[in-house]
Amino acid sequence: MKEKIEALAQQFQQELQGAASSDQVEKLRVAYLGKKGSVTQLLKGLKEVGAEQKKELGQHINQLKKTVEDKLSQQVEAIRQAEEQRQVESAESYDITLPTGGQLGSYHPITIVQRQLEEIFASMGFTIEDYKEIVTDYECFEAVNIPKDHPARDMQDTYYLENGQLLKTHTSAAQNAIMRKYGPPLRAIFPGRCFRNEALDASHENTFFQMEGMMIDKNISISNLIYFMKTMLSEVFERDIQVRLRPGFFPFVEPGFELDISCLICGGEGCPTCKGGGWVELCPCGMIHPNVLKAGGIDPEEYTGFAFGLGLTRLVMMKYGVKDIRDLNSGSLKALSQFTHE
């Protein structure tokens, strides 16, 4: 019996080496460990062995059984690994450098800059207001203290419609309605399309965007205005901006200012961009004219406020280096599809 076990063990070793596929290993398992398998038969044969030998032989057979089981499962694992290795080696190696990529949509650059500004103003508690493009003479001029005979109302500046309305020449046309809608105290910005009747060239458009803002409360002062503009513009340009005010005349503010910022290119040292002066004219601003407050239903003796206008289109051109303003309304995807992200 002992010899028989030895022989079987050797036979298994030999046959195992010949089992190169998982099917062959399975056959081998059946041949040795199945119901009628050789090892199973040996165990069955133990019944006929005397008690004194039974224990020892039993141990031998179980030893063999365990060896067979282990070796078989090792063989299965080895075959599986070899198969995976073959799969890995035969697999195609993809060329990741191929110029593939997802389709991208694009935002109009005005939208991008407008949103950046809106976020800044929203963080300072400003209400964002959208306004019409076709307005009345009252909204655009009279309500913002532009008298009847002012040159700004001339046909060469303003687009008039047959019914007497006009295309708003500035976002200030929304001031009156917004004051009346919300009343004081008030912080609001109102971006929008504006129109000026002029011939197109690389730096002149008849249709462009402005963003106007105003803040009205008790005791708003010129000192506050300068502080606010400096803070706001530092946020917009993401750096510390120096501002200076010069007198500027706009009928809807008193006093009115032209605001210059320290040149972004040279930092104020003087360069071709700022024509050597170190300052760049950026936006008009001022203390809201008492007549404008009055027209908006706000008592100028109780409330004061400031207003400012940012040239949104101009900011876009500065930010992205757009040289020809006409690109912005061209609908040309060659130009506009570049603005894929906010």
């Binding site: 389709q103 991208l104 949509g105 694009s106 935002y107 005005i110 939208t111 508690g125 209400t127 207001e129 959208d130 019409k132 493009e133 076709i134 009345t136 005979d149 001339d154 687009y159 008039y160 419609l161 047959e162 019914n163 007497g164 309305q165 809608k181 105290p185 008030l186 912080r187 609001a188 129109f195 008849n206 249709t207 409360d217 708003i220 002062s221 010129i222 000192s223 506050n224 300068i226 502080y227 606010f228 400096k230 005010l245 010069r246 007198p247 500027g248 005349f249 008193e254 006093p255 032209e258 203390m287 008492p290 912005l328 309304n329 609908g331 040309s332 995807l333 060659k334 506009l336 599809s337």
Partner: protein, 788 residues
């Protein structure tokens, strides 16, 4: 406008001050200075030289050989000037000296050496005259530096005219000098004038102001016996530096006075104009202005006439016929004040914006007309003491501006400025600017001077500007606003727009574009789209752009056409404005619209149409959490496809449309491509209340999905089939979805998946079957059969 600091120096003593720094302060306190010019800086060693001898040049017809005494040294000079002659005293630049920024060395001209150069006025930079040598008076001390003889050295700066629009008082040197006086804290000298009452014994001029609306004041004086013809050099230099051109003494004097005081003046030849009527004509008439151009002057234009004959366009330009000529020895001097708006409009209509009209349109101070004549006479008599007044001062003052007196207290100033400016500083500033300022306790009373009272300073906030600009905004201590806490005021803003844009760009890869609010006739024509009748612009740049667009379609379709080379498939959108005609108050029905247009050469029209339908439904669901209903509708515009146009509604409200194109229009874009187009009313869409998320406990029990493949008759739509399952409890039939659809001639097939489930139990097939049978039965009544 160009300003000479020498001229300013006549009225305020600025010696010892850094003039350029002062000019920079002028920018920060008054008006923008665009450029500073250093006049006379490119001259060196130019002296009065006497031509002591002259010979013909041996090798040249034109040139002469001169000996020029430059004081202490005689130079050999070759000169080609036509007016060169022996004994003449001329500006002479010595060898090694400089004119026009160029060094003059020894030059060899036709074989002879020239050790210097005799100069024209042009070469000295004091006029445009280069016709010959500048001739100096014979008694000029030889050898004297030219810059000591004449005021050639000057600091001239240019002010941006636009920044002076609201300051009529700054259109002359005297007004600018007042600003410098206030900025520098120096005294402004009074203008020296002639006492005009001295002529009171003389006869007045017949001046008749017939148009009392447009003429505020007309002041005149006749002068005779004018013997001098040429203005003094220093005067001509100032005129030239300030952008004017010397003509003759009288013309120069009127120009000089305008540049000095800002008061335009006109000198008529007294032989041609000896009386004046100011009026408008009842019909247009031809008139030839000083510049020799024959113009048509319309009935709105104010004219100066003499015995009914027009002699000048009031405030704009005189007539050619009454022009002062070089032999004029007597004149009628006009110093008048006309309505600013009228002058501006006249100048615009005539296309003739002159130095005078530019000033009048700023609403000049009518108080200035009389002192201007006094000043004119002072200047004239200084130059030509023989001249005599030939009339008394005749002054017709028709309209006066009201005097303006403003009162405010210190607290007002503090509140408006946010800083504390001393009382004394307030008073000092206002007085320096010519305001009458008094203080009683905390109250200030301010009398606005006439030159600021025509429109510029009318309310107390205007006084704040005067105080603060001279104080200097750079000197302000800046501080944050202190505002009581209040919640941000909520408006609808552009939230829906932004949400829609994000979806369209990020999920559907569309490109946002911007365009114009008007229809483009040319582009529409290229598309074969007629421009729809709508409200028009009255003054469009071109008739092609005069009709306001009624919808977003044509603009976007023309962009598709123009962008064809961009790619095989792309989509565009714009949120823009349209006008849907006029309302009952004759106002534009302006609407904000989202327009979308898709183009593809690789996908079918049907795919594009359904994609766009999907986009619209997604917008409804994502932005507003409401279902958007699409239903076949009649085309609203001629270019829409008659069979494939759909209307979008939400909760019964019409929101927009979706369409493919009429083949005629599609053919103009691209016969082989597919196009779909949609419009959504963003005003209405933004106004829809956003649906709430209603949370439903997920069922713990598995549901049953039943797929039904249905054969659908031609023309039957899904929405027409929906009633077949409308009666089933939605808590049981939880959804119907499209699994598959195909269509071939004579056969339309849909596979729909019906999802049944329950919150309480696992549904059995036995429970579901009756519902399915019910659906099939109702479908059968509609002609829809289960596919075999």
């Amino acid at each position: 406008m160009l300003i000479s600091m020498n001229w300013i120096g006549d009225f305020v003593d600025l010696t010892g001050l850094d003039l350029e720094a002062l000019i920079r302060r002028f920018t920060l306190s008054t008006a923008e200075v665009e450029e500073i010019f250093h006049m006379g800086q490119n001259l060196r060693d130019v002296v009065a030289g006497k031509i002591v001898s002259m010979e013909k040049h041996p090798n040249s017809q034109k040139l002469h050989l001169l000996k020029v005494d430059a004081g202490g040294q005689v130079y050999d000079v070759v000169c080609g000037a036509p007016n060169v002659r022996e004994g003449l005293v001329v500006p002479f630049v010595k060898e090694g000296g400089m004119v026009m920024g160029q060094e003059i060395g020894c030059a060899r001209l036709a074989g002879c050496d020239s050790h210097g150069m005799c100069c024209s006025e042009h070469e000295l930079g004091i006029s445009a005259d280069h016709s010959g040598l500048m001739e100096l008076p014979p008694d000029t001390p030889v050898g004297k530096n030219i810059c000591e003889l004449f005021a050639i050295e000057d600091l001239v700066f240019e002010v941006d005219n636009k920044s002076l629009t609201n300051r009529p008082d700054l259109w002359g040197h005297y007004g600018i000098a007042r600003e410098f006086a206030a900025l520098a804290g120096r005294e402004l000298k009074p203008l020296e004038t002639v006492e005009l009452s001295a002529f009171d014994a003389l006869d007045p001029i017949e001046i008749s102001v017939e148009d009392k609306e447009l003429c505020y004041r007309y002041t005149g004086l006749k002068v005779r016996n004018i013997t001098k013809k040429v203005s003094p050099v220093d005067m001509r230099i100032r005129l030239f530096y300030c952008g004017s051109r010397a003509i003759n003494l009288l013309a120069d004097l009127t120009n000089y006075l305008m540049l000095e005081m800002g008061q335009p003046m006109h000198a008529f030849d007294c032989a041609k104009v000896d009386r004046v009527e100011v009026k408008r004509f009842s019909a247009p008439l031809p008139f030839t202005t000083l510049d020799g151009v024959r113009r048509t002057v319309d009935e709105n234009t104010l004219m100066i006439c003499c015995q009914g004959k027009p002699v000048a366009v009031a405030g704009v330009m005189g007539g050619l016929e009454s022009e002062i000529e070089d032999d004029t020895d007597s004149l009628l001097l006009e110093s008048a004040n006309f309505d600013g708006v009228s002058v501006r409009r006249s100048a615009t209509r005539l296309g003739l914006r002159t130095d005078a009209s530019m000033r009048y349109e700023k609403t000049l101070d009518p108080e200035m007309t009389v002192p201007a004549i006094g000043r004119f006479m002072k200047l004239l008599l200084d130059i030509d003491p023989q001249a005599q007044a030939a009339s008394r001062l005749t002054d017709v003052y028709v309209r006066r501006y009201p005097e303006i007196c403003l009162t405010f207290d210190k607290a007002y100033v503090d509140r408006y400025t946010g800083i504390d400016i001393d009382d004394s500083r307030i008073l000092q500033t206002l007085r320096a600017l010519g305001f009458g300022a008094q203080q009683a306790g905390d109250a200030f009373t301010v009398q606005v001077p006439s030159w600021r009272a025509t429109k510029d300073v009318t309310i107390k906030a205007d006084i704040i500007e005067e105080i603060t600009r001279i104080y200097g905004y750079d000197n302000f201590k800046i501080s944050t606003t202190v505002s009581p806490l209040y919640p941000k005021k909520k408006g609808p803003g552009n939230k829906a727009d932004n949400f829609a844009k994000d979806l369209l760009v990020q999920r559907y890869h569309l490109h946002e574009v911007h365009s114009y609010i008007w229809a483009d006739q040319k582009k529409c024509k290229a598309l074969g789209i007629p421009v729809e009748e709508n409200v028009r612009l009255v003054n469009a740049q071109t008739p092609d752009h005069e009709v306001i667009r009624t919808n977003m379609g044509p603009t976007l379709l023309s962009f598709l056409l123009e962008n064809k080379p961009f790619g095989a498939s792309f989509g565009l959108f714009e949120i823009g404005r349209v006008c849907e005609g006029l309302d009952e108050n004759n106002l534009c029905k302006e609407r904000k619209k989202l327009g979308i247009a898709l183009y593809s050469r690789t996908r079918s029209e049907k795919e594009l149409y359904f994609e766009l339908a999907g986009i619209l439904r997604t917008l409804g669901q994502e932005v507003k959490r409401v279902p958007l209903t699409l239903a076949k509708g009649e085309p609203l515009h001629s270019w829409q496809h008659p069979r494939n146009t759909a209307l979008a509604t939400c909760q019964g409200q019409e929101l927009g449309w979706l369409c493919t194109l009429h083949p005629a229009v599609l053919g103009r874009i691209d016969k082989k491509a597919a196009v779909a187009c949609a419009q959504l009313d963003m005003d209405a869409f933004a106004g829809i209340p956003t649906g709430d998320i209603v949370y439903k406990e997920p069922s713990k029990f598995p549901g049953i999905d039943i797929d039904l493949s249905l054969q659908v008759p031609e023309g039957m739509t899904y929405s027409a089939m929906e009633p077949a399952w409308a009666s089933i409890d939605p808590s049981r039939l939880t959804g119907v979805s499209l699994i598959d659809s195909f269509e071939q001639p004579g056969l339309k097939s849909l596979t729909l998946r019906f999802a049944f489930s329950s919150q309480e139990k696992t549904l059995s097939m036995e429970e579901v079957q009756p519902w399915v049978d019910g659906i099939l039965q109702k479908l059968a009544q509609m002609g829809v059969a289960l596919r075999g």
